[in-house]
Every structure is written in structure tokens, then in C-alpha cells.
């Protein structure tokens, strides 16, 4: 049965209904291609989503799919993964769905290390409800609900994930086939929970919100593409590097050509470094920022305290397992 599949085997005949030019199209394409490349099987793959533009994702895949309710996809996915740990369970969520109404479920799925693969499409706006500001919108965002500009500070998906105890956090850009494909593969091979923040462009309500680092002209100078063990270099000719400044405990940009020894090498299992990297604004850190494997929740759950879900005693025995007496 394990004949090689292509992206087409993961795509169904449904007409895709995102706005023309939406970043979701690019993500869908990279996901189906990656699923084929990693040898996933449609019957053992399930996509679970919440509510929002991103959450329509499962309808366009020929895998098992469950479009649930607002913010609750991590909880539904947890139940599914617990009952069948052999499934590849992907969660598709957005900045509103995952970080606002569903923040609690995301936080607990991350801390438990449930082996679900969370893709958080961050476009810093509520798309499906027509453009209100979201928890990742920058302060001052003008939207239908904040005509004078939003006043609250945005939430950092990376800081939330690391703070919640996530063991895998990565970032990618919607249209970056290679970068996104790479982190998806890394996530797929990881035992516990993974969270991938995807910078996704909402062409209708928040166009170009990430252009300062995603535009072709800005990319080289504003993207730090992390590779495990490699020096943190960026710029058109890799002329810039990242150094740790021990005086103020921050990362800073230096001239890599004249100070090659001071350039940090990426170490994805260093949690402190990961926290500094997610804070970095210019350049924006991309790729696998943190990766520190540990036993998954479902594995521990099935092993502890006994053989859960395996019936080794009969109910009849349990019914009599008490002080009993006979009336004759």
C-alpha cells in the first residue's frame, strides 16, 4: 500500500475559497507537497482546525479533517491524539483563534507536550470577521473596532510558546516554500508538540504587514535563517552576524566580516538563546528556533499508571471488588 504519493494525493476536489492572493494558498501548496515528501498517508493524517480563514484548511485536503469551534482545536486534537497516537494530527489555527479565544488551550497543549503539530497562521488581523485588530496587532493598529488605533501591546507567539514550556518552536513565511517546507518536516519528525508560527499575509485587511522583512528587497537584510550549528549570518553577502552582548543580555548585529569569531552559532536546544531569538525584531529569526525533545504526553498517558485503554480486568470483577453480602 505504501506507493509513493504526490501533493495531488492530499488535495481534494473542493474549490478553495480564500481571497485571491491570500497567503493561505501558498501554505496549502507547501503543506501538500511536504506531506507527500515525508511519506505521510492520507488515512493516518488528520487536520483539526478552529474558526477563522486559516481554519478552512482541512476542507481542501484529502485527509481526515475536522473544522471545530473557535479556539478549541488543540483540545479536540488532544482527544484524538490520545485515543490514537499513531495518527499525524495537525492543528491549523490563527492569531485570533489560537492566541485570543483559544489561548488557554494552546498554552496547555504546549505545556503538556501533546504530539500535535500546530501551525499558527499569524496575519495580525481578524480576517473572517472583516478586519478587527487581533492580539498580535501592533499597538496603534487602526481597524473597524479601533478607529483611533489599538492601545494594547501585542502578544508574541514565540514568547508564549516558550513560556508555556513548548519543546519545539519554529517560524516561517507563507510564500517561502523552502523555509516552510523545512520546518514542517522538522515538526513532523518531532515526538512532542510543535508550534510553527507562519507569517501569513492577509491581502484584504492587513496587506504587507510583514513586508519590512518578507519583501524580496528587504529579505536579505531582515531575515535571519537559522540552521542548527551554523553561524548566525545574514545580509546579501552574509556580511552581518549576531552576537550576544553580555552587558545588557541581548542579541545585537555586528559586522561579521571583521568579527567572525564573535558570531553566535545556532543551538536550538538552548532555551535562553531561543528566548532572545524570538525577541529579535531586526532581523527576524526564522527556522527552527527551539527544539528540545522530551517524551510526549500521549506516550506517558498510555503508560501511566497502568495500561490505559487496554482492558485487562472485567467490569464484572470490578463490580464485586467491594464489601459484598448475600441475601438469600
Amino acid at each position: 500500500m505504501s506507493s509513493a504519493l504526490t501533493a495531488k494525493d492530499f488535495t481534494n476536489a473542493q474549490e478553495v475559497r480564500w481571497c485571491p492572493g491570500c497567503g493561505d494558498y501558498a501554505i496549502l501548496k507547501t503543506v501538500t507537497r511536504t506531506l507527500a515528501e515525508i511519506g505521510a498517508r492520507p488515512e493516518t493524517t488528520a487536520f483539526v482546525s478552529g474558526i477563522g480563514c486559516a481554519s478552512r484548511f482541512p476542507y481542501y485536503l484529502d485527509t481526515y479533517g475536522f473544522h471545530t469551534i473557535h479556539g478549541r482545536a488543540p483540545a479536540v486534537a488532544t482527544g484524538l491524539k490520545l485515543i490514537n497516537p499513531n495518527l499525524d494530527v495537525w492543528v491549523v489555527t490563527g492569531d485570533g483563534d489560537g492566541l485570543s479565544i483559544g489561548g488557554n488551550h494552546l498554552l496547555h497543549a504546549l505545556r503538556r507536550n501533546v504530539g500535535i503539530k500546530i501551525m499558527l497562521f499569524n496575519n495580525e488581523v481578524y480576517g473572517l470577521t472583516k478586519g478587527q485588530y487581533s492580539p498580535t496587532s501592533r499597538a496603534g493598529t487602526r481597524s473597524p473596532s479601533t478607529p483611533g488605533g489599538s492601545i494594547d501591546s501585542p502578544l508574541s507567539a514565540g514568547q508564549l510558546a516558550l513560556g508555556a514550556g513548548a519543546r519545539f518552536f519554529a517560524r516561517a513565511i507563507d510564500t517561502d516554500k523552502i523555509g516552510l517546507g523545512y520546518v514542517l518536516k522538522q515538526a513532523h519528525g518531532f515526538e512532542g508538540v510543535t508550534m510553527i508560527e507562519i507569517f501569513q499575509n492577509c491581502i484584504v485587511y492587513n496587506d504587507n504587514v510583514f513586508a519590512d522583512f518578507t519583501d524580496r528587497d528587504n529579505a536579505a537584510d531582515n531575515q535571519l535563517k537559522l540552521q542548527q550549528g551554523e553561524p548566525m549570518l545574514f545580509g546579501a553577502d552574509n556580511e552581518k552576524g549576531i552576537r550576544f552582548n553580555p552587558d545588557n543580555f541581548t542579541l545585537e548585529v555586528i559586522d561579521a566580516l571583521s568579527n567572525p569569531d564573535q558570531v553566535l552559532r545556532h543551538d536550538a536546544d538552548n532555551r535562553v538563546l531561543a528566548q532572545l531569538l524570538v525577541e529579535l525584531e531586526k532581523p527576524v529569526a526564522l527556522g527552527v528556533i527551539y527544539k528540545n525533545p522530551g517524551e510526549s504526553f500521549e506516550k506517558s498517558w498510555h503508560q501511566s499508571p497502568g495500561q490505559r485503554l487496554k482492558r485487562t480486568r472485567s467490569v464484572s470483577e470490578m463490580l464485586h471488588n467491594s464489601d459484598t453480602w448475600v441475601v438469600s
Partner: protein
Amino acid sequence: MSDKKSLDSIVVRLAGNSGDGVQLMGSQFTTSTALVGKDFATFPDFPAEIRAPAGTTFGVSAYQMNIGSSPITTAGDRPDVLVAFNPAALKVSLPMLGSGALIIVNNDSFNARNLAKAGYREDPRETGELDSYQVVSVDISHLNLEAVKAYGLSKSDGSRCKNFWALGLLMWMFDRDLDPIDVWIRKKFRNNKVARDANVTALHSGHAFAETAELAEALPRFRVNAADLPAGEYRGITGAEALSLGLTAAAELADRPLVFCSYPITPASPLLHHLARYDELGVGVFQAEDEIAAICAAIGASYGGAIGVTSSSGPGIALKTEAMGLAINAELPLVIVNSQRGGPSTGLPTKTEQSDLYQAVYGRNADAPIPVIAARSAGDCFYAAIEAVRIALRHMTPVMLLTDGYLSNASEPWLIPDMDDLEPIKSNAPPQPDDSRDNQGMAFERNPCTQGRPWITPGMLGLMHRLGGLEKDFETGHISYDPGNHQRMTDMRAEKVKSVAKFIPLQMLELGTEEGELLVIGWGSTYGPIFQAVKQMRQQNHDVSYTHLRYIDPLPENFGELAGKFRQVLVPEMNMGQLSTLLRDKLGLSPTTYPKVTGQPFLIGELTEKIYSMLPPVLEVDGDLVTNRRAE
């Protein structure tokens, strides 16, 4: 007084501070009752605070039990024996006592401070207000501390043994063997030798004191006649235990794993605790981060092929509401258990009520019906749980199972069922994969009789499909906003719930005749008191009958016809008339509601009074006019 009084039944109430160990003492006394073959019913009544301020009336924790020979279905209206550990316990319990009741008080606690805390200006034993009772004062605290002195415990640790000391005394009064409790203590405290020995000593000392002390002159002894129960093997069981065993039995009957997802809430948590110990029985328990996550994880587990169950109490059920709609739309099986408590909002967390019936039947956005059933007694929770799972799997629907705080905690003797007598539970088999057809449509090919769709779970080859909360086409299962289709799907969901009635037994009378003056309709935990009240009335030849509902929605097909044969219908319920509304709505009945929302179960006497008041003064029987009123 040492000769034993022989009785058919006796009501004993233990009351003290939350920290006095009254609940433990009560449950041990109940166990000893069970072991000597008496019928019993219990009612633990405790405050919401874990250790409410000592000595206060609102901190009183009580355990009431009714022990007897004839079928016992309630914890009893009027206690015949009260053990009061402090003045507050006496004050709270006094209005409940029957006249001439025996009151055993802990003399040591009747000091000025405790009397003041209880709101007594003077010692009630000296004011004459206890004259109509038989009062025995025992230095329980002091005698207990003396007994356990040898173990070198601190005063506070030593005084924690006093529940066992008092239990020893009670055991003597009821002529019970101490051995089972002795064994239980040794097992319970096997890792703490000092606590073990001190408690065993306290138990035996209390017993010896009752037997030998001069005071024994005043201590009556009781002999309760053996119960006339059906033959078989029995155990004591609480509603929460029976429910957890029932869910587990249902999983075995369906040959599926059970995944129980819950968030702690009073009074539903005992179910979580019991099931957490059943992993050898194919049960997985997941304590979620909140109520919403609990139901969503249960839905995820059902999606994956397990029997997903979630449990809560009213406020938590409210939070789960949106997810119930999802399970309805996704056509997945799910059992939602509501251990009802007093409300609204946080309300009375530890007190019982039946006020979530509207919530269960009507309480969701949109036209979102689900079957609703209710358990009537502690032991019945076992069968109600199996029935809930059976309906959920047959019709691929969420099912609401209503129980309440009283049922969860109350215990009774229970004839242990034979699993072989229970019918296996079938689920709707997945179709064979067929490349020539669209999987999406195959996933929603419903059984025309039940509207249940096949249970296809991720992992099954060639049957991939998409589920969701969006409306879908009746035939193809793809998203549809077509107006006619939404009507058709809404009709289908209504028909699905309605079709449950085709599979349930016709409604029967518990007591009485097929037609007549007054029919009493009960549901849920009011079974015990209503049964006793109607039985008493019938023994006095009053024209009153009784029926008790398990199936709230849909109602049994013959229910309207059955109820229509009576001139009057009375619905006693622990809410302001919710079942009455339902009966008006569904069947056009015009019942009289007898509401009670005090947080306490009905008393038999309250019900007989109400029934009397509704009966006409005279009644024609075979051409003769006879009085239908109690002689004044």
C-alpha cells in the same frame, strides 16, 4: 433500658464540624449496616468549604442514614438518633428531629465559646427546649483523648480519632460487629502505625465505654429487623460509583475504550476520581484545563473511535454548550453527565437541585436537540449510564445524562448485576471503501430509522472525509448554505432525537392503577421520597398513582396517553417547575407543580401533605361515596 428495641427502620444523623470526620464515620456505619443485611439509604450533607470555621452553624457537616427492613428509598424524614459533636450541630439538626428522638451530645464541646458560636445564649440542655427528646451527654472529646493518650499524639491529632470513638459507641447501640471497621482502619492507615493504632483504640474504647460505663443505663440499644431484599449478592454503592461502573460497563458492552475528559467541579468530581482508578478496565481519564477543553477532548476521542464522555455540574455544562452543538453537527457520539447542584451561578455547590432540566432540553443556541435521560437512584446510575452510551452510539448524537449532588453522594445497597444479562451495545459500522464514490457522502449515509451515520474514524483506509460545525449537504456531506438543505438538516436532527422513542420501553406505573384521580410524575432523584409518599397514601386507600421518568426527551411514546387517564397530575421537583413546563410543551398536560429549592431532598411528609391537599374530599367507588381525605 439495655433491652433492645426492635424496629423496622430507624433514621440516624451524625453532625459536627467539617473536620470532625462525620462523613467517614457515616460511611463506615453504613458499611457495617450493609454487612448485616439491612436496607439503607444515606444522605451526606456538607458545606462547600473544605474546613469551614469550627463551631459555626454554616460549618456543620452531617451524614444521615435510614436503616431498615422494608424497602428503604430515602434517607428518612425525621432522625430518630442524633449524634451532635457540638452545639452548632445540635442547633442545625434540632428542627429535623422526630419527637422523642435520642440525642447524644459531645459534652466537652458544650462550653460558653461554642454555645455562643452556635448562637445559643444558654445551654439548650438547661433551658427545657430539649425536654421532648432523650438527651445523653457523653464526654466524647475527653474520653477519646484519654483512650489514645498512650500514642503520644498532639492534642489536635489525638482529637481526630474521636469520630471512631463515637462510632464505637454507636456500634454498641446497634449491636454491630467491630471487626469490619477494625480491618478497614488497619488497611487505610497501613503506612501510619500511630494513626492506625490510635484509631483502632478509639473505636474499641467507644464501644467498651458504651458497654461498661455507668452511663450505659441511659443508652438504648436498637435491633433493626433484617430487610426483605430480593435474593442475590449485594454491595453498598454511591451514585458516583454506580455511574462510573456503568460507563465502564457500557464501554465493555460496546467493546470500545472509554475516554473520560473532565474538569474538577463540585459535586461532579467523584466521577472523575472513580474513573481515574479504572485504567485496567479500558478507561482513559484526561483532566483538561477547563470545561470547554474537557468536552472538546471528549469529542476528539469520539472522533477517534472511543466513547467520549465529559462530566460537570450546571455552571460547567453552560461552558460546554457550544461544543455540544459541534457534536450535534458533526454527528458524533458523546455522553455529557450533569451532576446538578443549586444555582444560579456558583449557587449552592454542595446542595442538590434539579434545576438544569431547561438547560439540558432547551439550553443551546439554534435548534439543537439532544436526547436527555435521568437517573433515579444511586444504583440506577449504573443502568442510566449504559443507556446513555447505547443511545449515543445508535443515533450518533451527544446525550445528556442528568444526575444530581444527592445521587452522586448518597449510597444504598445494590444488587450486583450480571454482565451477561446486559445486551451488547452496537455501533454503526463503517462502509467498505469504494473508489467510485465520494467518501464525503459515504460518511453521512444515515440509517433511516435512527438517523445515525456510520462511525468512521481517522486511520481507516480510503474513507477520509471532513467534519465540521458548518452546515453540510444532507446527501453529499459537503458544506452547504442552501436554504432548503438547512431546513432538511434541521428536520433530520429533530427526527434523530425523536426516533430515540422507538427504542425505549413504554412508560409504566411505579404504583397505582391505570386511571384515576391523581397521578404523581417524578424524575431523577426524587424517586425515593415520592415512592414512599405514594406508597403510604395508597396504603390508606387514596386514589393516587405514581410514574417516574427516565427518558426526559424524547418522552416515551405512550406517556401522554398514560398521564391523560388521570384527572390531576402532580409534579414534585427540586426546581420551580421545569418538568411541568416540558410536559405542557410536549404533551399539552396541565400539571400542578410542587417546587422545592431549599438544597435538600423532599421529605416524605411534605409530599403526602401536598397529595392530601389535592385529593377531592369525597370519591365515588363502586357507587359508594367514600372520603378521600385523611381523618383530621
